[in-house]
Amino acid sequence: MSTDFQCTDSADGLVLAGVLDRDAVPVMLKALARKRPAAGARLVLDLSGIVDMDSAAVAGLVTAWRHAQASGAEVTVHAPSPVAQRALQMFRVPDEIIPPPKPPGLFEGVGGQVIEGLRAGRDFLRLTVDGSLAVLAALWGWRRTRWAHLVEQCIYIGSQALPIVGLVSLLVGLTLAFQSAYQLQQFGAAIYVADLIGVSVVREMGPLITAILVAGRSGSSIAAEIGTMQVSEEIDALKVMGLDPLRFLAVPRLLAIVLMVPLLTALADLLGILGGFVVGIFYLDIAWSAFATQLLKALNAFDLMSGLFKAAAFAYGIGLIGLHFGFSVRGGAGEVGRTTTASVVASLFYIILADSVFSVLFYVIL
């Protein structure tokens, strides 16, 4: 606290002297509050003895002036020292204080969210239609399509995801096999591990694991990349160059993800089954030929094709969701992070929802 500040009473107010800085302001305000001028009264602050003054002191004096105005009184400054004059001269005081915007009420808030949700839904539908048309147009006019960019995307979404998809699928296959072996052994039906692993991996776990990993890895990256381009005006730059951002950015990503995810799923199927195979051979002592025969008996082409079809459908949705969130970014870098996270959550929700729909559909078909 400043020790060089003195505040003494005078006949019509206060005499302030010494260093009026941020430490002295509370002392001054307390003294002013004690005086509490009545409506119509005038309180004079003598600043002739001020030797130094900072912006907090100016703000303190203006605050006292505003409070007095509000209660119909008046606070004025008398004979400010040259130092005080310079400080007071430097800052300008807005005539009116603009109140902060009112937070929306409950109904307004809920209504706003609903409208926002409907708008996002409309934008997503529009993107789905326009994006799909752009993909078709790119395939039709394949000569003008940026194939190099598509290859780049395939390498990122496909090749670079091989290790993680492979490893996770192998581990899931092992775990599934161990869990089922424990139950099946009790009934002397250990050989049916092959059926269980085969069908569950090919129809369900392979596409699901691949889609979840791709959503976390590539869906988020699409959202972040497009979002960053949106923030740095690269999307606007494409528009003013007469280039359609959908055709330029969305098509290679959508094509790459739809091509790569079924391939990754095929790998996930293979490694998932390998996990079960390892458990069958080394833990359950099933002959490899018996395991293979049982597996081939259990699986049919429909299982494989339905799994790969599901994978492609998951992939298209993940791509569209990533693009939708990326293109919806407004504002700065913080918004990119928030939107990327939201895109992953939305993709995961979509994968589970679509998987449920496919399960019901395939059950009905079979």
Binding site: V62, W65, P80, F91, E234, A237, V240, M241, L243
Partner: protein
Amino acid sequence: MIPGHGTAPVVETRQLIAKYGERTVLRGVDFAVKPGEIKVILGGSGGGKSTLLKHCLGLIEPAGGEVRLLGQDLTTLKGRAREQLFTRIGMLFQYGALLGSLTIAENVALPLVHHTDLPKDVVSEIVRLKLELVELGHAEHMLPSELSGGMRKRAALARAMVMDPEVLFCDEPGAGLDPLTSAELDELLMRLRDRFGMAVVVVTHELMSIERIADSAIMLVQGLPVADGPLDEVKQVDHPEIRAFFGRVAAGEMRGSRSALEILTGRG
């Protein structure tokens, strides 16, 4: 098409109204740019300068009024015709907006690759010519992230000019540049105007730059034009914002606010 022909405005807005949500940013702006002139859009922060520029480029749908670019109504123009129209304009964004995944040469070549059937070697030669013009011949194979802010901006200018546009739009061309680079950029804009008859629309606050390049100017205050015409005439208009902008009065004084001294001593 060779730019610089005709006398009809190359950019024109009539009673343009722009809104962000409930907030009205432009309140009926009439604006025109003649071929071969450098027109500067002036105004304080939040005055609607960049919004006007974005409307002229069709990046934002107007809430009301009309926007014509090279004689065509942007509000109704769609598809291929719109894409074709954009091959006749160039835009220099505030931070360059170069595509980060492409090299400088690929960035500059982008419009040529997509809108022309020129052989690859001719495209490369055009790119080299444009990069030399902005003294970036050595940066052809570099990525935008490997360049300084000033170099990025010059590369973006090369990209904006690659189709020999009839109108070049520039958003704060001197922002973030040192005075020398900024002056060089201004010099280049004037050469483009003089040699190719290109119209240039510039949003800027930089007084030195304005004095150097502007043929005419429009001053926006709270979404309304308070002066429009040759720069010398605009500077003489008796309006507090214009007086403040050209440094004839302090900004606070212009806004009508009083100093703490005036308030506390009861003067003013």
